[in-house]
Symmetry: C2
Subunit: 408 residues, 2 copies
């Protein structure tokens, strides 16, 4: 059960003109489940992405990078679940290429106009024949109001499909933004998440879209962690079709700030949905670190807290065992941190200051906050003006159960 998250109804996920989605049951690893999604883009879209920094990055990630760098117009995305096509060496690269070729052939575009994505088990070979056999059904299913089905077709250990949509009015034109994401474990993205796709019918030139996808990732998918494991397949893709008529040329254009904010809000919603559905999660935790010298050290502290199995099990137990939070701050790697200037709050309850327990702190107040399903840990490092947020979840029996059983 995800923490305070339900998949929006199909009619709450708005069509983005210029973008059509289709799904199929291709039997890639299991039978009778939607495991293949095809996204067809009209001519004239711009597309940009950010990808995992894992050196064992998957074959499809390598191909995505190549195809985006190639500069040809991207006309399709193909996404499979079940097999990650990672740790598969040269045969894996060939399988990803064959997948792009099959999609290209069906749609009448070149293979390098197709971006491939895979998620699932690592170190097993991608069954390209199954994908090839499933593609015609996905093609036949292509439609603009199909985000709901697509969100389901990319799930692995996710317990719910993840999607978000919103509209923003700009100069009399309605701009729509819709997105889907997947992921529940192996979540500590570095430059992107497991899989996230976001499309808008605003028009955004390529260099501006490339800046935006990085900025949006830094405020969303790059702020989350479930277990600290950076996946081999993390990808976050942004598509801009321009079909709303609201077309931007530069960041100073009127209305851009609103569109940018709406796009980032959708990205944050998609990223948080992954944490809310984190494997075994029973609580959603925001770690907000302020008072740092720079953004990076705030993130370091946020991730030290967000990764600590001791902190995460204490949240699961609703135990205000706050020493574990202090310990995590202390080992986060800020060599000259003066702990006497550090303050820590659970929501609005001041729990620690001056290097120790706050004088007025009562354990009952801490216990009350710890029982909530949404908790903010606020840290002030007392050494500067930078800030950063990390979103995480607690660590429960079910995390172990899910990960001990995943392949069986």
């Amino acid at each position: 059960m995800p923490v305070n998250y339900t998949t929006p109804a199909a009619d709450q996920l708005f069509a983005v003109a210029g973008v059509r989605l289709g799904v199929a049951e291709a039997g890639i690893r299991k039978q009778d489940r939607r495991d293949l999604a095809l996204v067809a883009l009209d001519a004239g879209c711009t597309v940009a992405g950010v990808f995992t920094r894992n050196r064992f990055c998957a074959a499809p990630v390598q191909l995505c990078r190549d195809h985006l760098a190639g500069g040809k117009e991207i006309r399709a995305l193909v996404i499979n679940t079940g097999i990650a096509n990672a740790g598969t060496g040269e045969p894996g690269r060939q399988a990803a290429q064959d997948t792009c070729a099959a999609v290209g052939e069906l749609l009448g575009v070149a293979p390098d106009q197709v971006l491939p994505f895979s998620t699932g088990v690592i170190l097993e070979n991608l069954p390209v024949d199954s994908i090839r056999a499933g593609l015609p059904a996905a093609l036949a299913d292509l439609k603009a109001d199909n985000w709901h089905a697509a969100a389901h077709a990319i799930m692995t250990t996710d317990t719910v499909a993840k999607a978000a949509s919103r509209t923003v009015a700009v100069d009399g034109k309605k701009v729509t933004i819709s997105g889907i994401s997947k992921g529940a474990g192996m979540i500590k993205p570095n430059m992107a998440t497991m899989l996230g796709f976001l499309a808008t019918d605003a028009g955004i030139p390529q260099p501006m879209l490339e800046r935006l996808v990085k900025e949006a990732a830094d405020e969303s998918f790059n702020c989350i962690t479930v277990d600290g494991d950076t996946s081999t397949n993390d990808s976050f893709i942004m598509i801009a079709s321009g079909r709303s008529g609201a077309v931007f040329a530069r960041e100073s254009d009127a209305g851009w700030a609103e569109v940018r904010a709406a796009i980032i809000a959708v990205a944050v919603e998609l990223a948080q949905a992954i944490v809310r559905d984190g494997e075994g999660a029973t609580k959603f935790i925001t770690v907000a670190v302020a008072g740092g010298k720079d953004n990076e050290e705030c993130r370091q502290v946020g991730y030290a807290i967000g990764h600590s199995p001791l902190v995460k099990t204490a949240f699961f137990a609703s135990d205000p065992n706050l020493g574990r939070i202090l310990a995590a701050i202390g080992y986060a790697g800020i060599a000259d941190l003066d702990v006497d200037r550090v303050s820590v709050w659970l929501d609005d309850v001041l729990v620690a200051e001056n290097g120790g327990r706050a004088e007025a702190y009562q354990e009952d107040d801490g216990a009350r906050v710890m029982k909530q399903s949404e908790i903010t840990v606020r840290v002030d490092l007392g050494r500067g003006n930078a800030a950063a947020k990390v979103y995480t979840c607690d660590f429960s029996y079910d995390y172990v159960k899910i990960n001990a059983d995943y392949r069986s």
Copy 2:
């Protein structure tokens, strides 16, 4: 149940001349348990230590550093379990000082000739009165053949007491080395472990002992991880009484290599015992990384594998889900790692090479190794001659249970 570890019998833990130990039930946090240990050193011992790098280091750690730096002869160690005296600010420092003063008064030495150690819950105040009241019983209990009792008196969530002893003959003289350690969670030492104490009756001059304690820590306590959490109280202390008559002046002395090797072997045994008794551990895993450009990057890869909750749950499940190991290698932070040169073995079974699954690898072979209680993951990075080892354990339901329940 620890993995292939039982506490040596009391008569297998040899007395070290010049070092006497006593324990008491001081009721520091719980009644009816030995929770206070006193170690009295004869005049003429050298003492050196390494300590946590956690910025929220505990008050006793700060005092230990000060007293060792002060240069006075150390004549006693006082160790309590139950309360860590960490995250306790100025009152915590005062409590540690008061403890040293009480010990000094009883033994007729100055407070800064006493080293204090605490372990247990963070962020709670040390009950100095209980310690003061317990000290006379510990003093009355002082004896040289008391390592077994001392090992018990420093336990927290440990399920077994941890101790090791060996002797080595040098030039007709018998050198004895005995040590104890504690720790089961919050284990990713940085310069030392939770608590480790090692004494020998070899004579070792101060500067040489200081080099040795660092070297020994780097091969033992600095190679282990249970949950990646670096404690606020990590301390590893080495004592040399010289009472065996085997007295060394420099590292080139005859017999030193043998004594040094025996001391490091005891340190490794004590450190491994902590992992074997890691919270919820059912398996002991050695991650041996070779072929690195330097020792540090090998350790980085070792720790990435050793910390990954996904890898550790797969070990718990005996599931050769090797993609998780590859993913951890990939995100360990070696920016220019060429994954096509990386090879991975489970014991002697080659599982991955050339960036993917080894051609001859059969899942049955992997599954067979994964069922063992002791497993070595060998990684060759294929880029140099450096190597490093990390010792870790698997991640089970019981880890969550223990840490969700610890304070209750």
